[in-house]
């Protein structure tokens, strides 16, 4: 059996080092638990594609992270969710955007991938598709958390938008979530899920559900999931740029990721997690911090917020 490896992120941004020790521990423990879960799935022989979906489900179900339960509020005071998943074996992919009543958007993205000739479905249409495929619906109020609501009320007063993590109003709950994995069979996959930006204009689509921007996977090179200011990842076609740097400029995963985050991505924008088909992982960022973790079958197992 081949080496397996996994990387996860729970968002990047201006995470102040001054957050109370108690809050740090809550997040590090959550990351540790989710990373352990993903590690064990891969160890037991689960496919990379299953693993990234199930791991992102854990993030979506946690109120600590900006995806699923705990998502931020848009300018209308609603939670609007985006997600994508991609299989490195054949570049199969699926994504949903602007859904408001789907408990686990990344699982709907996978069903779009496997049961639709389309890749990206939006809003009401995506939810009609979900209904036809027996997906679990929740009321929009399921996504409610007091902390996110209070953040929104304050930003709304100021009439501005914020990545949940770049606001000084929150010290702990952060950004997009994602997972990349390489399984024992040599396949890689990527998944990303998000509630977007607090107080975003209704209908704004970020990089998360856009294949090549926030999410990409190809066994030939790498699987990537991004987090941060979505527009910068769209403009740079970020996830695919890592692929191109490996495929055509012949850089290693680590050099490609470092080059992108240090030289191409606008400073203070965010970060990404990536894995290649050898099982190497890379988790660079150019924001103050990034909730992240990586593990593999050689004994690596670490979760971090700062350097």
């Amino acid at each position: 059996m081949k080496k397996f490896s996994i990387a996860i992120h729970g968002g990047a941004g201006a995470i102040p080092k001054t957050v109370p020790e108690k809050d740090k521990l809550i997040y590090l423990n959550a990351l540790d638990g989710i990373l352990r879960y993903g590690h064990d799935l891969l160890a037991s022989g689960r496919a990379a594609l299953d693993t990234v979906e199930l791991v992102v489900n854990e993030f979506e179900n946690s109120p600590l992270f900006n995806a699923g339960k705990g998502a931020v509020f848009n300018s209308e005071g609603k939670n609007e969710l985006d997600a994508a998943v991609m299989d490195g074996r054949d570049r199969s992919c699926g994504a949903v955007t602007c859904v408001t009543r789907i408990k686990n958007p990344v699982s709907l993205a996978r069903i779009v991938m496997e049961n639709s000739s389309h890749i990206l479905l939006c809003g009401k249409g995506a939810e009609e598709f979900a209904k036809e495929h027996g997906i679990k619906f929740v009321r929009n109020s399921y996504f409610f958390t007091q902390k996110r609501y209070d953040q929104w009320l304050k930003l709304k007063e100021r009439n501005t938008t914020a990545l949940d993590h770049s606001s000084d109003l929150t010290g702990s709950a952060k950004g997009t979530v994602g997972c990349v994995a390489k399984d024992r069979f040599g396949n890689i996959a990527a998944a990303t899920s998000t509630g977007g930006m607090t107080n975003k204009n209704y209908g704004r689509i970020g990089d998360t559900p856009l294949i090549g921007a926030g999410t990409f996977a190809d066994n030939a090179t790498c699987a990537v999931s991004c987090t941060g200011t979505g527009e910068e990842f769209i403009r740079t076609v970020a996830a695919y740029e890592i692929h191109a740097l490996m495929k055509y400029a012949k850089l290693s995963l680590d050099r490609a990721c470092e080059k992108f985050v240090r030289e191409i991505l606008k400073p203070d924008t965010g970060g990404l997690i990536a894995v290649d088909s050898e099982g190497n992982t890379s988790c660079p960022y150019n924001s103050k911090g990034m909730y992240r973790g990586s593990a593999d079958s050689d004994g690596l197992f670490e979760v971090k917020i700062w350097e």
Copy 2:
């Protein structure tokens, strides 16, 4: 003053060579008129960005093409439009998806680019943004054409979807529209606009509004606009792949485009138009035909449907 050049497309697909001579002439004349208009804008010193927008407006206003007036119908019998524009100078870009009451979606995309911190706005949200910026609204019935409606009724009966051009039900009116241009100042830009696929599931988003998939521009390499089965252009991150082949694999525009369309893109999928910063143009396709044209300040001026 430097060389200028322009390429346009009005869709690609299984365009039968057996279409009546009269219909061929209608399309060739329309392409000729639009290409002439774009050529003259560039000759008079207009910027590439202005030119691609104005040229795509002409396509949108023509009932012959699947964009704006003349767009195909979705599964609910409505016209749902997508568009994107990108400026090669600094990768500024804007896009809209699932709009139903905007006469010229590409112009709304440009206003998103210039007046919003976001890149991609969707549906009702995009239309709220449009209202705030004084954009011209039309009733959804403005987009109605009898031919498209009849196509839709027939596909609906069969419960299937079709690119407007790959259906045997139409011999003449075809796909996405787009324009790429290089101006006298050395800048390049790309714009794309579409009504999508006939009888598409409500909410399906294709490649057109996705930066890097259907639309991309960077002065360092090329400006690209794609047409065909959108999902294949998303999966291959098509427009950005041309950029990557030029930037990192050091291919010429023509070799990059040919390699992509012959070796990477699934057969019978569609095509693209591209221009580089030297003013070279390339318009390859792997479907039966593609409505297209290219012109430059050196005297090139041609419109074609087949080889």
